[in-house]
């Protein structure tokens, strides 16, 4: 089956620094990826997505990079703020059907 995993379960950064959260996926046929942010007691919130025909996509303060050769996905957050503290998940859309597979998550803590 498909699996999505994250390299680091926790990440601490100083306010104002850039953050990089990594994700590995196993299914080379997956064609759509999403990064979510989840704060305590809330549902996941969409941050940014990318399709497999792209290598990079930028949003407001966030950039997602996709390396299909090594099946790696990363989320870059520029000028990290205390409000960015949360658990971040990458999700992969399965090659068939309608399932999204989520990784375990990385807990980001921003130190003021």
């Amino acid at each position: 089956g498909e699996s999505v995993g994250l390299h680091l379960p926790t990440l601490s950064v100083q306010e104002g620094d850039n953050s990089i959260i990594n994700c590995a996926y196993s299914n080379s046929a997956s064609d759509y990826f999403i990064w979510y942010k989840q704060e305590s007691g809330k549902g996941p919130q969409f941050i940014i997505d990318i399709r497999s025909n792209m290598d990079k996509r930028q949003g407001q303060r966030v950039t997602v990079l996709l390396n299909k050769t090594v099946k790696h996905l990363s989320l870059q957050i520029a000028a990290t703020q205390p409000g960015d503290s949360a658990v971040y998940f990458c999700a992969e859309k399965g090659s068939t059907g309608n399932q999204f597979y989520f990784g375990t998550g990385t807990s980001l803590t921003v130190i003021p």
Partner: protein, 115 residues
């Protein structure tokens, strides 16, 4: 409404009881998803609806789990004869598009605790 709502937010059930969890998606959203999120884990897919049609229920862990969306709007996830391993947060998400690749908007979840 402003977003996806779920009720109840918290539910405590004794083992063996039946529970029903409700999801009110964003008005007009075609797709609806249910996920199960265990403590410290990412959400796991349970089932997917396109309007009233349940197109994918491959993630339901057993035949004790049943979901419906009879009018293509509100959805209910029912768990019969609850077991302790059913304890988790149950998330509902809706999407405007009629396929599974669109942006999903999540509700706050229902935290189910089975004693």
């Amino acid at each position: 409404g402003a977003g996806v709502s779920q009720s109840p937010r918290y539910k405590v059930a004794k083992r063996g009881q039946d529970v029903a969890l409700r999801c009110d998606p964003i008005s007009g959203h075609v797709s609806l998803f249910w996920y199960q999120q265990a403590l410290g884990q990412g959400p796991e897919f349970l089932t997917y609806f396109q309007n009233e049609a349940q197109l994918d229920k491959s993630g339901l862990p057993s035949d004790r789990f049943f979901a419906e969306r009879p009018e293509g709007s509100v959805s209910t996830l029912k768990i019969q004869r609850t077991q302790q391993e059913d304890s988790a947060v149950y998330l509902c998400a809706s999407s405007l598009v009629g396929w599974a690749g669109g942006e999903q908007f999540f509700g706050p979840g229902t935290r189910l605790t089975v004693l």
